[in-house]
């Protein structure tokens, strides 16, 4: 639709016309602000905790376990040097006492949600799948944070 609109504007004599064909789906999935009745405040991105533990695949579990426990978390996200999520360390991995690499202990390819997902849909998904949290990633796979079910269920939606 937008290419036709851009072409029509040029036909009407506008000289500098750009077509952002990826549109608001792309914009929102990258965690950028949205206005309107379903504005950013009604989305996962506004309620995600962003200070979440993260580690690299070559870190040692002994170090990661200690750091995660000290921070009061029961999960840790494994990311590459660009912040792209590779895996997740859950409760089971974090209670292991052996010293292996993170890569050996992590669960690959965890299910994620976009910052633009509506909060009530995230709650529904966590209830249906009996999850207490979901990692939030941008459309390029970079970790934004985590949405916790207890936060999402209590969030005031205006």
């Amino acid at each position: 639709m937008s290419p036709r609109a851009a072409s029509r504007l040029e036909g009407l004599g506008f000289g500098e016309v750009y077509d952002y064909a990826a549109g608001k789906a792309d914009w929102g999935s990258f965690g950028l602000p949205i206005e309107g009745e379903r504005h950013s405040g009604t989305r996962v991105g506004a309620h995600a905790r962003t200070e979440v533990p993260a580690c690299g695949p070559h870190d040692r579990m002994t170090d990661v376990r200690e750091r995660v426990r000290a921070a009061g978390w029961d999960t840790c996200f494994v990311t590459d040097e660009h912040g792209v999520v590779l895996g997740r360390l859950g409760r089971a991995a974090l209670t292991r006492e052996d010293d292996v690499s993170v890569e050996e202990a992590m669960t690959l390819g965890p299910s994620t949600v976009r910052p633009s997902l509506e909060l009530d849909k995230a709650v529904e998904r966590m209830r249906n799948q009996n999850l207490t949290s979901l990692p939030v990633t941008r459309s390029d796979g970079v970790l934004v944070g985590v949405i916790r079910r207890e936060d999402a269920e209590r969030a005031p939606i205006q």
């Binding site: 639709m1 937008s2 290419p3 036709r4 609109a5 851009a6 072409s7 029509r8 504007l9 040029e10 009407l12 004599g13 506008f14 000289g15 500098e16 016309v17 750009y18 077509d19 952002y20 064909a21 990826a22 549109g23 608001k24 789906a25 792309d26 914009w27 929102g28 990258f30 950028l32 602000p33 949205i34 206005e35 309107g36 009745e37 379903r38 504005h39």
Partner: protein, 67 residues
């Protein structure tokens, strides 16, 4: 011919007073739109409705996605 652009170019052009235009129908615009965007649905886009736009400034049009 209109120039196809990506997200980062939209952000750069916003700093150059570009005008953002959502061309979806009004209910979809009311539901959600990019900050500062105005709504001129494609079906109403003509000489008259385009008068809402300043000709000396860049114009960025968008809809929902590539469809």
């Amino acid at each position: 011919m209109p120039t196809p652009i990506e997200r980062d170019e939209v952000q750069r052009l916003q700093g150059q007073r570009a005008q953002l235009v959502e061309v979806l129908p009004e209910p979809e615009y009311a539901d959600e739109h990019l900050p500062g965007a105005i709504n001129i649905p494609l079906k109403t886009l003509d000489e008259q409705s385009a008068q809402r736009l300043e000709r000396g400034r860049p114009v960025i049009v968008y809809c929902y996605d590539y469809q």
